[in-house]
């Protein structure tokens, strides 16, 4: 289910959260990277039909989100996991999924219950299906969230910052789950965690200040830092030029990796960049006026 966005704008009072976003999302897993405040959540909400755009055009699977019929058609084929997923604490996991299933129009009781059982197995929550959602950990809540998103077998799944705040083990588990469900559908993963995109997506876009500053293969982000990524081992202070991406202390001194358009220190040597360094290079480019 492809997504086509052109000239998308969204304004909140005097603040322009999206200022002319152009983006095409093909099928499969697609990453949307950006710092907090870049406009990712606003874009996700517009795609989910929660917010209306101020201007521009969005079509999802050929349905125009500007029309009521288009929004309804998209919602019927959409699974959405919002950034702040509140759960109803008085419901059990199974009841919550049953309720959401009913609201998604899954009226056949037997089929709905069968699907809920399968999803609970898939997300590893079958053992706590009868437990109230009150007191669930962050990871468990996200897994409930992805299970509800998958109810009705949607063609498009939009997940907003799903791994923020999770411990490493739970994050890896969740990433694997997302990659698994992307098999026959479009999964749009919005995150500020570069590693999540590196581990799950082949295609990605990067947003900064309400604009898309990069779109293409994930390797293309890495390429942005080629020739501008340096490593230096020193016992002195960190290099003043560029952005220090990592600093690892050792017996010989601290090993810094720096993204800088100029050699930050005579002793610095060029190195192969990582995705994170590519992302930092992109952000620096985006921050330069003009």
């Amino acid at each position: 289910m492809d997504i086509k966005i052109s000239g998308l704008r969204r304004r909140f009072g005097r603040v322009e959260a999206l200022c002319g976003v152009d983006l095409e999302v093909p099928g499969g897993m697609f990453g949307l990277l950006g710092t907090n405040g870049a406009g990712k959540t606003t874009l996700m909400r517009i795609l989910a039909g929660v917010l209306a755009p101020t201007g521009g055009r969005v079509t999802v699977g050929g349905h125009d989100l500007a029309t009521r019929a288009g929004r309804l058609a998209v919602r019927r084929r959409l699974g959405y996991l919002p950034q702040d997923l509140g759960l109803y604490p008085d419901l059990t996991t199974r009841e919550f999924l049953d309720y959401i299933g009913l609201l998604k129009g899954l009226d056949d009781d037997a089929a709905r219950r069968r699907q809920i059982g399968e999803l609970l197995d898939m997300v590893g929550l079958a053992d706590v299906a009868g437990r109230r959602l009150k007191g669930f950990s962050g990871g468990m809540r996200r897994r409930v969230g992805i299970a509800q998103a998958l109810l009705g077998d949607p063609a498009l799944v939009v997940v907003d910052e799903p791994t923020a705040g999770l411990d490493p083990e739970e994050r890896i588990r969740f990433r694997t789950l997302l990659a698994h469900i992307a098999g026959h559908r479009t999964v749009l993963l919005s995150t500020h965690i570069v590693e999540d995109v590196a581990q799950t997506c082949q295609e990605a876009a990067v947003m900064a200040a309400g604009r898309v500053v990069f779109t293409g293969p994930v390797t293309g982000i890495v390429d942005r830092a080629r020739g501008v990524t340096w490593e230096i081992v020193t016992q002195g202070p960190p290099p003043a030029a560029g952005v220090v991406v990592s600093a690892v202390g050792g017996p010989d001194g601290t090993r810094y990796r720096v993204v800088s358009p100029v050699r930050p220190d005579p002793a610095a040597v060029p190195v192969q960049p990582s995705l994170e360094e590519g992302y930092v290079a992109l952000m620096r480019e985006a921050a330069v006026p003009g």
């Binding site: 759960l87 419901l91 129009g105």
Partner: protein, 227 residues
């Protein structure tokens, strides 16, 4: 049926208990006034006030909670089921329970000879239904416009309290009489009672229709923090 059961739980215990609480409060006030030696007509007046004033107030406060509080609002807005429809089901449960209790109380009062309101069955429904519509409609509109529980409950409480405090003036003044919520219990079924009930009901329908119109833009329901 399952969906209605879930919506009743979503409306929440405070909303579902508001109507029974107003009924209990009415009975407690009546018992209290009887206990202090008030004559039967005064006790009957207290019971009529409960039906006309407390049941609508409880329903309006519950309506505010239903519209303003939902932990999964953002998710709900992205579902194929239209969220205003979901809210309407919850409001229906709240209003329905309030109406059922009001009808029950009215019937009991009529059977026991304690009813001092209008004689006809339809008119006795309007004793509570018109202020319930008016006050609930106002509550809904303010909740949707202000996106704030505090603002909506405060508005309802202030209107209710002011009408109680200035009842003699409001009931006696020509321009305010049609909008006075407690005309039956404060002035009886006298001149202009029918107009008053019709105006209150019409205002309620107008407020509810406006609120529903505003809800066509679902983001109206997101609070400032959520947006």
């Amino acid at each position: 049926m399952s969906l209605w059961r879930y919506e009743a739980r979503r409306a929440g215990w405070p909303a579902c208990l508001a109507a029974p609480a107003s009924l209990l409060a009415t009975l407690a006030l009546a018992a209290g006034s009887a206990g202090f030696g008030a004559p039967p007509p005064s006790v009957h007046g207290v019971l009529l006030s409960g039906v006309e004033a407390l049941v609508p107030l409880a329903a309006a406060m519950a309506a505010v909670t239903v519209v303003s509080v939902d932990r999964c609002r953002e998710l709900q807005l992205a579902l194929p089921a239209r969220y205003p429809g979901t809210l309407a089901r919850r409001l229906g449960i709240v209003a329905g329970s309030g109406a059922a209790l009001a009808v029950l109380l009215t019937a009991v009062l009529r059977l026991t000879g304690s009813w001092t309101g209008p004689r006809s069955a339809l008119a006795s429904v309007l004793v509570w239904a018109s202020p319930l519509l008016g006050l609930t409609g106002l509550a809904l509109l303010v909740a949707v416009l202000g996106r704030s529980v505090v603002l909506a409950t405060t508005t309802v409480a202030v209107v209710w309290l002011c009408e109680q405090l200035f009842a003699p003036v409001l009931a006696a003044t020509a321009w305010s009489r049609p909008f006075f919520l407690f005309l039956t219990s404060r002035a009886g079924v006298a001149d202009g009672w029918g107009t008053n009930r019709a105006v209150l009901a019409a205002c309620g329908v107008l407020f509810i229709a406006t609120a529903l119109l505003l809800l066509r833009r679902p983001e109206r329901l997101l609070t400032e923090e959520e947006a």
